[in-house]
């Protein structure tokens, strides 16, 4: 395995509620090298919270705690908010599910990409402009000059997501966290967006955390997969061997998927065992 970019040990995300504290993430450990790491789970399993916690995007009164959360040996939890700003977007970027809510609706796309680039590099307008156009070309946008002048509402969902990716990669981060980047897209556009992420991750040697609820997608796209349930990791496996997974939860999820090539009269229904939530988290450290 290559060098470790991110090292997380015993990560916990806690929210105070009227009924006492609620732990959304309960002691998750994993490392990320220059690889494609998938995190799968159902809604409420804590997968998105894990992604957000890495960038410390959990708002108070929510709390992020960990025994260790290091990016290339730097302690992310000890950083000031000011220093975190330099990490976010520059060293570690995040692409969210729906481009409609991530792009500023009243700002031209070109301006938005240039703003990020200039904020993090201090480059001039013309250099930033060149870089933005180049980045839009890299995500296969046909007419980048026109898109630079356009507003987000003039773009389709697939284009919006590609613009988001361009924006997040313009600063050449070392880690990309993609939270359900293709769930809002049609299948054919989905493949296109994935191939762009795949190529960029490969070419630039980035580490990718790919958060998704789609098991088949993660199995075919990632190198290694963490399966989360109730805020913990229940199983870690090689993506190619996901279909040989042994944990009853993973088996249950796989069984509940309808399959085109293997008809069954009834779908398996997942029977949840309270013991799964109690079992200690499996470590995803390598």
């Amino acid at each position: 395995m290559s060098e470790t970019l991110l090292d997380v040990e015993n990560l916990r995300v806690t929210f105070p509620t009227r009924q006492g504290e609620f732990q959304a993430v309960r002691g998750v450990s994993f490392t990320l090298g220059r690889e494609r790491l998938g995190i799968v789970g159902e809604s409420g399993s804590g997968k998105s919270m894990t992604g957000r916690a890495i960038l410390r995007l959990i708002r108070p009164p929510g709390r992020v705690e960990a025994d260790r959360m290091e990016f290339r040996g730097e302690d992310l939890l000890a950083k000031s908010e000011r220093d975190m700003q330099k990490i976010r977007g520059q060293k570690i970027s995040m692409v969210m599910q729906d481009p409609k809510f991530s792009l500023n609706p009243v700002m031209k796309i070109g301006e938005q990409i240039m703003e990020i680039y200039r904020f993090h590099t201090g480059a001039g307008r013309s250099a930033a402009r060149r870089k933005a156009v180049e980045m839009l070309e890299a995500v296969q946008i046909r007419d980048p000059e026109r898109v630079m002048r356009a507003y987000p509402h003039e773009m389709s969902g697939g284009m919006g997501q590609r613009i988001m990716i361009a924006m997040m990669l313009v600063t050449e981060p070392e880690i990309l966290i993609a939270d359900e980047p293709t769930s809002a897209l049609d299948v054919s556009v989905q493949t296109q967006v994935l191939s762009i992420i795949d190529r960029l991750v490969r070419e630039r040697g980035m580490g990718l955390i790919f958060i998704s609820h789609d098991l088949n997608l993660v199995a075919s796209f990632c190198d290694r997969v963490l399966i989360m349930y109730a805020g913990r990791i229940v199983e870690v496996c090689d993506a190619g061997k996901l279909h040989e997974a042994t944990h009853p939860y993973t088996r249950g999820l796989l069984g509940s998927l309808p399959r085109i090539d293997a008809p069954q009269p009834r779908l398996e229904v997942l029977k949840r065992d309270p013991a799964w939530a109690q079992a200690p988290s499996v470590s995803g450290r390598t």
């Binding site: 296109q192 609820h213 199995a219 309808p258």
Partner: protein, 256 residues
């Protein structure tokens, strides 16, 4: 005998230069008791066909019949009893301040039923929710439970045709399995005819006997479930959809 038949259906929105043809010349037939799928991408017109059958869009031409009803601009009350619809988002399709009891009770009384009390209990039982759910509000239910309430509401007037618009796409896969099983059981039990819209080919293959593949408002292929399982698409677009539904393939992405 066909339960639902659609012939040369055209649906458009807007006028003159702004006119958008959402559905072009769609023709298909659904036999009684069958389950028919409509797949395609967003904007391909699949939901619009359901809305046209339901009478939720007025600008259409062509010929549609449901059972004995020849559908016109105005439809008899019996039609709305016979045809019901379940929507995609269980969070948006239930009134947030109406309890399950009110949702079902209102539908039943609108359709002129008398024994509302017993019927509500029966409906809850049919969709696998116990009597304890009767006085809950939507925010006290999970996504899957809400969709069960929406299905119970659709069953209330004892319809013979149910139009399902992406009934499980907002749900987790394990909950999706429960809802799909429930729909299959209800079809068996109440001899229902389904028309189901989905973007997920695997879901449609599981539920439907025949599927129409739509692209840009046109039905490009009518496909039997056997052909789909054997991966025998005749239209290149169908092939593309089938390929993409098996996860990510680096080589497929290059040609797309």
């Amino acid at each position: 005998m066909s339960r639902v038949s659609v012939e040369n259906l055209n649906v458009w929105f807007g006028d003159g230069a702004d006119r958008v043809d959402a559905v072009k010349n769609a023709t298909f037939e659904v036999p009684s008791g069958a389950s028919f799928g409509l797949v395609g991408e967003s904007g391909s017109g699949k939901s619009t066909i359901l809305r046209a059958i339901m009478g939720l869009v007025t600008t259409w031409s062509g010929r549609m019949t449901v059972g004995a009803f020849e559908l016109g601009k105005k439809r008899p009350k019996d039609f709305y009893k016979d045809v019901q619809m379940v929507f995609q988002d269980p969070y948006a399709s239930l009134h947030p301040r109406h309890s399950v009891d009110q949702v079902l009770g209102e539908t039943l009384s609108l359709h002129g039923f008398r024994d509302i009390d017993q019927r509500i209990m029966k409906l809850l039982d049919d969709v696998g929710l116990g009597p304890s759910f009767r006085f809950r509000y939507p925010h006290q239910l999970s996504g899957g439970q809400r969709q069960r309430v929406a299905i119970a509401r659709a069953l209330a007037p004892e319809p013979s045709v149910i139009l399902l618009d992406e009934p499980t796409s907002a749900l987790d896969v394990s909950v999706q399995a429960e809802v799909l099983n429930l729909l299959a059981d209800l079809r068996e039990e109440h001899k229902l005819t389904y028309i189901m819209v989905s973007h997920n080919l695997a879901v449609v293959a599981h539920m439907c006997d025949t599927t129409a593949v739509m692209q840009n408002g046109e039905i490009v292929e009518l496909m039997s479930v056997a052909d789909m399982r054997a991966m025998r698409p005749s239209h290149p677009y169908t092939k593309h959809l089938l390929d993409s539904s098996f996860g990510y393939k680096p080589d497929a992405a290059q040609s797309a």
